[in-house]
């Protein structure tokens, strides 16, 4: 090796900076609130040869961690095979086909060849979640689609920008097939401008250090990330680690889908075998291969956050292609649930398998659902249609260090929830409660975090409610003796009569009139360790803060609390804990 480790470190920081500036530029200029506020986007640099990931913005949505190298690789192959037009400088390809290395249709990717001296040096690519890409329901999250055509417009890789100029004809086709098309031009320009920013910053880096040095550094960094991940894996004792995680149903057939995972650790590699999972499903809870891989990668990054995101870090993770299962769906299986829900359950399976091997690093299962509640209807006061989304958080799993966090963001996301006040400004709804869901954290030595409980009323007009949530059938798994977190619950009151979705967490187009209510209780996190080993003072504190009742303290944690204000009855606690 001719490169000194310091230059290597400096170039690594430089490549990261290029990606971070692309992320910043994209978010700040974007119109889609999902991109601007929720950071549902990612920007990265990919190898010219095979699309493998060189660097990715630190603020990118976790679920895109591995998906984009797959889509870039597919694009390069299609160009090589003549199935996509050959690239020219300042071209930008657009693609959202899930089966070509994507997630769901709403995640729209741009890819731009980056040239040096007439040759492609690397690819710059980004993904942004568009608010709508057509299909049967606004926003694209159908709970009951049975084919991808019902989910929206599917774009193969085509050049939306040709030599720097936007192809107005392709754009017109897109706009004719999606809702709220008038604002999309803002997102398209923001997404393209972020790639231009990346190219500008990469120019500066290459001019300064030289193309050959940077190329060599990229190779070396990949090698080192590989080494680093292997060093992390070596902490795990050799063996086979198994787990099962359940998706409530596919939204069409009311049967649970199983993710059966066996992780075999040998030397410094992990082999992920999902082959015993359920077969492809009728409804939209299928995953495509790219999303399945990405879910494994993001779970491992949650466990080893110190390893930088790069293709090298993924190399020691051998994921067998789970052919014949719902984790490797092919056209035309519907896939709108893959990025938001199935991905989180795959991560849960990875956590559940490895928590015994890495008890200090891995947590009990987090809430693990994006909690998607969509309400679409007509607001008579403003005489306009609306589509509202309430994505909600839930409790995180207890872990070796702490109790789980309350109302955390999904495992695959990093977004902030919108304030109730903003929701009420924009949509004809009134929230009656937005509260901590008491008692929902799974009991444990370190208990799970608490879920969220909200109740809202449609104030006027008619609307239809849809839910794509999960963990309604089984709560997030406890670990090492901890109890499961509380299950997700949905109730809709129509004219005062309570309706529970037959699939518990998924249903589409439930009619609502003015004065009808929706109540959602999101999952609590799984507990970690034996609840009877929990410090009685911590149990008392939770009771004094009205997070658990005295009865729950006794039944779940074996701690007797009496009096007002409550005090621990030490003798009775000892008796309870010994008589188990």
């Amino acid at each position: 090796m001719t490169l000194d480790p310091i230059t290597l470190g400096v170039i690594q920081a430089g490549l990261q900076q290029v990606c971070d500036e692309m992320d910043l530029s994209f978010s700040r200029a974007a119109f889609s609130p999902v991109i601007a506020e929720a950071n549902d986007r990612s920007d990265g640099i990919y190898s010219a040869k095979d699309g493998s990931l060189i660097a990715q913005g630190a603020g990118g949505l976790p679920v895109f961690v591995g998906a984009m190298q797959y889509s870039t690789r597919t694009l390069i192959e299609m160009i090589r095979e003549g199935r996509a037009l050959p690239p020219e400088p300042e071209d930008i390809y657009i693609v959202n086909d899930p089966y070509l290395g994507g997630t769901h249709l709403m995640d729209v990717r741009f890819a731009k060849p980056y040239y040096r001296d007439g040759e492609i040096f690397c690819w710059l690519s980004n993904t942004g979640h568009w608010p709508d890409t057509g299909g049967s329901v606004p926003g694209g999250f159908s709970a009951s689609a049975t084919a991808v055509e019902q989910e929206g417009l599917r774009l193969p890789p085509v050049k939306l920008f040709k030599k720097g100029r936007m192809d107005e004809e392709i754009y017109a086709i897109i706009c004719s097939n999606i809702r709220v098309a008038d604002q999309r031009i803002g997102d398209v320009k923001a997404q393209a401008a972020a790639l231009a920013k990346g190219a500008e910053r990469l120019d500066a880096l290459l001019d300064r250090y030289g193309d050959d040095t940077v190329r060599e550094a990229i190779g070396e960094l990949r090698h080192r990330a590989n080494t680093q991940m292997r060093a992390c894996i070596a902490m795990i004792p050799d063996g086979v680690y198994e787990s099962t995680a359940w998706v409530d149903s596919d939204g069409v057939v009311d049967e649970p889908l199983a993710i059966n995972l066996a992780i075999t650790k040998t030397g410094d590699e992990l082999d992920f075998d999902f082959s015993k999972s359920s077969p492809p499903c009728i409804g939209p809870m299928n995953s495509v291969l790219a999303t399945t891989l990405s879910s494994v990668y993001l779970a491992m990054r949650h466990i080893f956050p110190e390893v930088p995101i790069s293709a090298g870090a993924f190399e020691p993770l051998k994921v067998r292609r789970p052919e014949g299962t719902f984790l490797d769906a092919h056209y035309p299986r519907p896939v709108s649930g893959c990025a938001a829900e199935v991905s989180q359950r795959i991560a849960e399976a990875v956590f559940a398998a490895l928590v015994t091997a890495l008890p200090d690093r891995v947590t009990a299962a987090p809430a693990g659902t994006s909690g998607n509640f969509a309400l679409g209807g007509h607001d008579p006061d403003r005489d306009r249609d609306f589509v509202m989304y309430q994505l909600s958080g839930g409790g995180y799993g207890g872990n070796a260090d702490h109790d789980g966090l309350a109302n955390g963001c999904s495992t695959i996301g990093i977004s902030k929830a919108p304030p109730v006040e903003i929701m009420e400004q924009v949509f004809p709804v009134l929230y009656h409660r937005y509260a901590l869901r008491e008692g929902s954290g799974g009991a444990g030595k370190h208990r799970g975090g608490f879920g969220l409980e909200y109740q809202l009323e449609l104030r006027r007009g008619d609307a239809r409610a849809s839910f794509v949530m999960d963990h309604g059938r089984y709560g997030p798994q406890g670990a090492l003796g901890g109890a499961d977190g509380a299950r997700n619950e949905v109730t809709v009151w129509q004219n005062g009569r309570a309706h529970t979705p037959p699939h518990l967490s998924k249903e589409q187009d439930i009619a609502m009139g003015a004065g009808d209510h929706v109540l959602v209780r999101t999952p609590g996190g799984g507990g970690y360790g034996d609840p009877f080993e929990r410090d009685p003072e911590a149990v008392l504190k939770d009771v004094l803060l009205e997070r658990y009742t005295c009865d729950q303290a006794r039944d779940l944690f074996g701690v007797a609390i009496s009096g007002d204000p409550g005090e621990i009855d030490a003798a009775e606690t000892t008796r309870l804990r010994q008589s188990r």
Binding site: P5, I6, G9, V10, Q12, A13, G14, Q17, D20, E21, L24, S25, R28, A29, F31, E37, A58, P62, Q183, I185, G186, K189, A190, A193, A196, D207, R224, T227, Q228, R301, P305, T363, S392, G393, Y396, G397, N399, D401, H402, D403, L405, N407, G408, C409, T411, I414, K416, A417, P419, V420, E421, I422, E424, Y431, R433, Y434, A435, L436, L452, L545
Partner: protein, 686 residues
């Protein structure tokens, strides 16, 4: 021209480690300085000690301006006054649920303690809708009952926080009336009073922070004022706010939350003041201390102000504050080789205890300060004076073992690598700060202060293609200087949130006129001579459908529609190189700041002119070997106070002074300006 400030003025700032003081006699230009250890339990002792050390005769002092971290420390250490909250039924958990986040993108762990515990957050039936219409009338008996419960629970302060109070504060005002009949003191904060904007979590936390530090700040200020009076002081005590302005001691506790970020703000004010005097109006202030580095942007001599600052994870304080960002490394940041064989610096820090190895307090891990020492950039002979001293050889050995052996470098090369990596990371972070505010760092001067800032500044500037560095006369007492030069300042914001073409422009002018009248009345209420009144106007705008805002400065209180549209589109294009004339613009906020500008102060005697020598040769103390990118140079070392006025020298050079070391790298040029600043012209790469 503002009139000359009169009399003897004291600026005194309490920082994490030291309390700094500057006394300026505006009649003679004479200056006295002091630096004493801060006293954490009661910061007043440190203030008094500093006054004593500078031999200040309080009877002859006309004005004292004080920067305090009393409230900052209280929030960060959660040593708060016991506070209760009364809130809308169904919403008591807003403060605990936050905005559905986690502390880091990766790693599903983290802890969060809400600022008011759940059992002290009580509910009362009442409800407004988003237009301010009453849906449920206020249940006054429920407010009374909740008040009594909180009082019985031992609360000292109280927050009243109702949904949509920004649209209609009637219920909050009425509830406050009811509470006042029962509550034994004035520590009552209503949510809408500090921040009249939607977003219940941010507004609620801001109010809760205010209430829970209010009694602490008031008691502290009272004690200090009493002490000062006892010692013969008859003037006014002014206290720094986070917006970079100051407010009279009698008013400061009302909006105590505004002082929480005042520490870093005063340094930025001094930077703006000093830069303006030197004719450099666009600055990036760079304050590198022992544990962290603070960065802020100053444009046309005005620091950037933001109302969306988080003091730590999920702790937003949404009042206008100088936008200071902490970007990581300090002198105590620890270097290590990670499992990929790459060198990392920070975020782990040796802090003040044990501190870097060279402090001789038991630190045994390589830090940035130790690297500077091995490279000769810090004076190795100083090691001898440290009790229980550590030898250069001992530090070398640690660098060799912990870093060099793993990287294939010798100890000195490893030290150079630590500096290079730290500088690369810091430069990247500074770039992100300026880019996120839509600015190109090349258009700025780097203003370097803090103990370690002037050591690294030229290298960072080179990395960022910044043409020059300004090192003020006294980099170690910049915050106290900021107090000395700060103005009275009041900020106002109104939310409009309408498409620009529908905005009632006359009503907009009326809002601005109201801001001006309120602000001038508040300035007039304070016992301070004000030279002139300055007003700043800006609007926050976006294209319809966007969620991020762009701040557009306007230079008139009566902007017209076309002017606003044009200014916004220009600002947007500058920032994103995107032109979107097909989409309509929204006007979201209108902001006004009313600034009572204090008289000009002459700081040319911060370095005593009489002490200066006639030539560079006479100012030179010694030479020592210092390592730069191309190896060791025998480098002249100057004593800053001895440098001749208007000197000019070429690097390599070291300029030492009491509180910092300025590193002039080979090829860079350092010039002294008439008021005692050093301007380093940075050789650019390529």
């Amino acid at each position: 021209m503002p009139e000359q400030a009169s009399g003897r003025i004291v600026g005194v700032d309490v920082g994490g480690t030291f309390t700094d003081l500057v006394l300026l006699d505006t009649n003679t230009g004479g200056v006295r300085l002091a630096k004493v250890p801060s006293t954490t339990d009661n910061q007043a002792y440190g203030v008094l000690a500093a006054l004593k050390e500078a031999e200040v005769d309080l009877e002859n002092v006309d004005l004292i301006i004080h920067g305090t971290t009393t409230t900052t420390n209280a929030v960060l250490e959660r040593k708060l006054s016991k506070t209760g909250m009364i809130t809308t039924q169904g919403f008591r958990d807003v403060l605990e649920l936050g905005r559905r986040t986690r502390p880091q993108a990766y790693g599903m762990k983290g802890v969060f303690e809400p600022i008011i515990p759940r059992n002290l957050r009580l509910e009362a039936p009442e409800r407004m809708d988003s237009s301010g219409k009453v849906l449920t009338p206020l249940d006054e008996d429920a407010v009374r009952a909740a008040t009594r419960r909180l009082l019985d629970a031992g609360c000292e302060s109280l927050v009243i926080h109702f949904l949509h109070a920004y649209a209609n504060p009637e219920h909050e005002l009425r509830a406050a009336e009811i509470v006042r009949e029962i509550w034994p003191n004035d520590y009552i904060t209503t949510g809408h009073s500090l921040l009249s904007e939607s977003r219940e979590f941010e507004r609620g936390v801001t109010a809760a922070v205010n209430a829970s530090v209010q009694p602490l700040l008031e008691r502290y200020i009272h004690r200090l004022v009493d002490e000062l009076k006892t010692q013969g002081y008859a003037g006014e005590l002014l206290v720094m706010n986070g917006n970079g302005g100051m407010v009279s001691s009698g008013l400061v506790a009302n909006e105590a939350a505004k002082t929480v970020m005042s520490g870093p703000a005063s340094g930025v004010m001094a930077a703006a003041f000093t830069g303006k005097g030197a004719g450099l109006r666009n600055l990036i202030s760079y304050d590198m201390g022992g544990t962290s580095t603070d960065v802020a942007l100053i444009r046309d001599a005005e620091p950037s102000v933001s109302s969306e600052i988080e003091i730590e994870y999920a702790m937003p304080i949404h009042v206008p504050m100088v936008d200071v960002r902490t970007v990581g490394a300090g002198g105590g940041s620890i270097a290590r080789v990670n499992s990929a064989g790459l060198l990392e610096v920070g975020p782990e820090s040796a802090g003040a205890m044990p501190g870097p190895i060279c402090y001789g307090r038991g630190g045994a891990r390589p830090t940035i300060s130790d690297a500077n020492l091995l490279l000769g950039r810090l004076d190795p002979s100083k090691l001898k004076s440290v009790e229980g001293g550590v030898s250069v050889a001992a530090i070398k050995e640690i660098f060799q073992k912990e870093l060099g052996d793993l990287l294939g470098l010798d100890a000195i090369e490893a030290a150079a690598a630590v500096i290079r990596i730290a500088n690369t990371r810091m430069a990247g972070a500074i770039r992100m700060v300026s880019v996120s505010l839509g600015m190109d760092p090349r258009d700025f001067t780097l203003f370097a202060f803090g103990g370690a800032g002037p050591l690294h500044a030229a290298a960072l500037a080179r990395e960022l293609a910044i043409p020059r560095v300004l090192v003020p006369s006294r980099p170690g007492i910049t915050n106290a200087l900021g107090c000395l030069v700060a103005d009275l300042r009041h900020d106002f914001t109104n939310t409009i949130n309408q498409p620009l073409h529908l905005v009632d422009i006359d009503a907009l002018h009326a809002i601005i006129a109201g801001h001006i009248a309120d602000g001038e009345a508040m300035v007039a209420k304070q016992r301070v001579d004000v030279g002139s009144i300055r007003r700043l106007y800006s609007v926050d705008m976006q294209f319809a459908g966007q969620s991020h805002l762009i701040r557009v400065d306007i230079d008139t209180p009566k902007p017209d529609r076309e002017m606003l549209r044009q200014l916004f589109e220009e600002a947007y294009y500058r920032r994103f190189r995107v032109e979107l004339s097909q989409i309509r613009a929204n006007l979201v906020n209108i902001n006004t700041s009313v600034i009572g500008a204090r008289g000009a102060v002459d700081l040319s005697r911060l370095i005593e002119p009489a002490g200066r020598k006639a030539s560079l040769e006479e100012a030179m103390m010694t030479t020592r070997p210092v390592r730069f990118d191309d190896g060791f140079h025998d480098t002249p070392v100057y004593w800053r106070d001895h440098l001749p006025a208007g000197f000019s020298l070429e690097g390599p050079a070291i300029i030492q002074q009491m509180d910092t070391t300025v590193l002039v790298e080979p090829g860079d040029q350092a010039d002294g300006d008439p008021v005692g600043n050093i301007i380093v012209t940075v050789r650019q790469v390529q």
